[in-house]
Symmetry: D3
Subunit: 235 residues, 6 copies
């Protein structure tokens, strides 16, 4: 039962890209044909268009696991089968320096919160992506000029708590980067049995001290957007 | 250290109203003078204007505790002293039928998640508002035509889990209503020692079966917006 | 179903004051007319009398959440509608120096224990008082010579653990004071939908280094007792 | 550092019996010689006397883990080396029918609460008694006419939650009986390295439907009191 | 610092296969050349040999996360860089019928236990394998006659609790199968930054009612052993 | 329903000794008459023989709570009534120096893991032994030359985490020693209502710096084996 997307039956494609940044959303929608506005309610902008002859929906997901889980549940209930998130992240590993595209296998995340409420019990539920989709994303990115890394990320619920000690902890636990929503996507995908994947562009890495310039970000996000669209339409 | 509102020093008023709905935001900003756009980045729209000669900032907070906590931390770091949220909610008590304005004393919420990460331990941290601000809000609302109720609410992290059993549980525990972000506001306010309050308009109550019409909502939200502005500028 | 007060149907007033100190109990009962002994079993002394023409029950609550929750459940099952606790507390905030009367909005408390057993799940259940009763108490106290502060307190389960680090933690989290039973009263009131309030006299504040003398305590407790009785009989 | 018993250095014996019922306390103190009143403050009555030529302190412990832990910490800080509790309990096993004296090896108890606060982490800390003291108690009781059973008990934090389902659960887990404070005694004893033991007289067993009459209770409590004093003075 | 394998420096290959079944171990070692016995202490048999000219260690891992974590930490401390587990599992999904080889992306597992002790905090730590190694295993298996499935599994700590309700739960959460040790391997690999992978042969699937015959198992385990050795030596 | 020992009905004695070390197993089986091999499957060797004319089963239990719980459940389901574990342990108390035989009353252990899965809730479940069996073991050992200590132990789930801080913590909490499986035996015994006991030989104590030589271990294990057999056959 869709909530934000209530009444949008038939307007959501099987292939979906979700983003938390309106600029990134425009970068993607500008690559689509036959673009249609599906929803602008509550800031959860939804557009459906075509790429390589296949329908693609692009959707805003907001900040935090609860927000992303909400829109993801809506999308799944309306027929989404493959959902790829294109996000950013903060690198903590040398393998995830600024400019790298991280394709996570899984996310570590806080106990409790949305996962506890959904499952009704506390369990270390594996928030993992779909192997085929992850491979398509990695292969597609490797054809671009963007450096790719795969591994685990940590999904934080509180960006204001990201102090040095926090970042060092996840670095020492061999995580590549931290974000704010990734666990919810892989959690919902794994739970509902649909295919999810994600690409995070590392804007900055406080461990190496490197950051991307705005121009670099824009150029790289175009490349990644194209790679994601190519991957999704190979399915 | 502000994140979304980085670089907006001096542009945030001591008195802030936060909302998760762009229509509600317009209702409020239309009542302000000398309105200035502070931020439109990342969908977290921020405007500062004047009401009764006092500066008021209005800010979007997104969906979920993580999102609201992020913007609230930003606002506090930039000098906000009084933050009132104007939200909606789903009523579960007969005292919170559709059309009622609920002013919560406190929120129950899931263990773990944002609160665990911020505190570094699991503790039942009291997410409560400021007594003076709550009283000003209640008094101001009582001068309007809107019915007012006070008590506890539950902040959910997963709106898709709101089944009959869930709603009955919180009803039987004498909670008035459920929402998606309220705990984070009162938690951050209590933790940082600033004054927070909230007004939730009950759009619908599945227990009584009543809902507000869109026209009713619009008219009532205007009344509530005025009540909140009156209360905030009495401080 | 009453346990300690089994068989005392009809002998408990709607308005109740609970205390954990027999001296404080005598201070209160000495202000009542037509005093009747209801119970002396198990050390949970219970008296019912009159003040301003209205019936008032005064009851001992023992030490700890389990003890207070037990007698509170008994009182509610026998018809109590308004329960105010008059206790002491240790101040940790500058706003709660020795001699101050703290009227808490809510209490933070340890996860697990009595709350877990009663609810059957771990959730951050809001232990908050009733707004009207809190306001009556604050207003009544403001008419006395006692300084009043409102905000959050922490209910500890282990007074022997109150070391410097513990006190500094709650101070830094903007809590006013710590006690041993308050959470249970507000928890039971919120859960069962009856009105609860509390007044804590700060005997000492290790942060400011100030303590009340025994003479000060006795004089102030008389004032507060009168304020509570005045507030309760305005309902 | 003693709190309730502050200033009572030298007045507490190495051998202590604690009780939560003033009648039971009188039964024990009436068997002592040279009885001295040590404390009557805060309802935590403390008496020290002699039995078989050895000093014995008898102390009230109140209701709940927090209350018992508080007085136990006080007693230990003042030199107590052997603490035996004489309490009652509700039987749930056929081995613990009304009239049986249960000497527990260990107690199961709720996670969180006092144990979490004292240890600073959640761990299944073994709340067990001292083998030598347990054996002395069992041997001494076997010489009386009272039936004895040994095994585990559950310490509840909420007597109002003791419904049929609750009692059946602990019965099916092969626990003998439930009480309200036992875990705290064995926990503190194990943690501080002093010897603790306990005897619980089963007043009633809802599973068998049997209860003791008041006359039976009085007679049996005298026998048990003597058995405990005999055991303690063999050390 | 190795514990079971203390003193075996230099005798452990970078490429390791671990198994919990001595028959399966023999199937693998029979395919190696230049086989050397490294350890037979404590039942944790360890052999090192060669396949395709590369050194391979085969090690027993016992039952349960603690046992597997222990030997895995030993292997890593002695230089293991790629560890593949060849285990069995109970299928719960139609995609994991008897005879299928499941290559898990990640494992869900119980909170607490070994993971809590190792990390010192409760967090949903992603127990995921290495993408390259998983892909090599899948590709190698696809060249055999064995059917392959990828996705999540649940690692149980108590095989006696595997009742119908338990199995249905994990089926409904789209997990493929349940085992007893898998989470520990992926957890340790992710934490220490070495590459892990796993292949589970589904002996039976209580949902479909199908089981493998002993002859089938033996034949299929030979195929899978060869596939794993081929995959590992491509690195 | 037995899993490892499936099909071994009638071959398991009421009296069982379990061990995690094959050498120790041989020491015990060499003292039995009419020895029969019951199982060698999966490394869980099982032998049944006679001592003092009574049947005794000896069984391997592997490493970790999950492994020991599995075989213990199997043994109980096949009729075991008295299970004694003969293990080793690392001493942390001066009372448990190298060469001491520790007979634990109870075990502390990590929350979550096997106990959470079996009980379906998080509770501090008392993992305690049977008083009569413990007393028989202690009495029997006291007749030997081996020094005996009784008290609590901690069962660890991760031997690699046993750093100085860890050992000091349990020492300061008055625990005698740490092992890897003990909690599971006492937990299963308490839960199922059968009698369990344990004897741990302290191989080394990092606090005192003392260790046993291999010759000492062999000689002492013979003595302890005889003591256990003598105790078990007194039942």
């Amino acid at each position: 039962m869709a909530i934000i997307l209530s009444g949008k039956e038939g307007k959501i494609a099987e292939r979906v890209i979700i983003v938390g940044n309106l600029g990134r959303m425009k970068t993607i929608t500008s690559m689509l044909n036959e673009l249609e506005t599906v929803n602008e309610f509550a800031g959860y902008y939804t557009y459906t268009g075509k790429y390589n002859g296949k329908r693609i929906t692009v959707n805003f997901h907001g900040i935090g696991n609860s927000s992303l889980a909400l829109i993801t549940n809506d999308l799944i209930s309306l027929g989404a089968k493959y959902i790829v998130r294109f996000g950013s992240a903060t690198g903590v590993s040398d393998k995830a320096d600024a400019g790298t595209a991280v394709v996570p296998i899984g996310y570590s995340y806080n106990i409790g919160g949305f996962a506890l409420q959904e499952l009704g019990e506390m369990i270390n539920f594996a928030a993992t992506g779909n192997l085929d989709l992850i491979n398509l994303l990695v292969d597609s990115l490797k054809k671009s000029e963007v450096k790719v890394a795969t591994g685990n990320m940590f999904t934080s619920d509180s960006i204001h708590s990201h102090d040095e000690k926090f970042l060092q902890k996840w670095r020492s636990l061999n995580h590549l980067a931290v974000d704010l929503e990734g666990a919810a996507l892989y959690f919902e995908g794994a739970r509902h049995g649909i295919s999810t994947g994600a690409v995070h562009l590392i804007y900055r890495n406080p461990m190496t001290g490197k950051s991307m310039s705005q121009a670099d970000i824009e150029r790289t996000e175009k490349e990644i957007s194209k790679s994601i669209l190519d991957a999704l339409t190979k399915l």
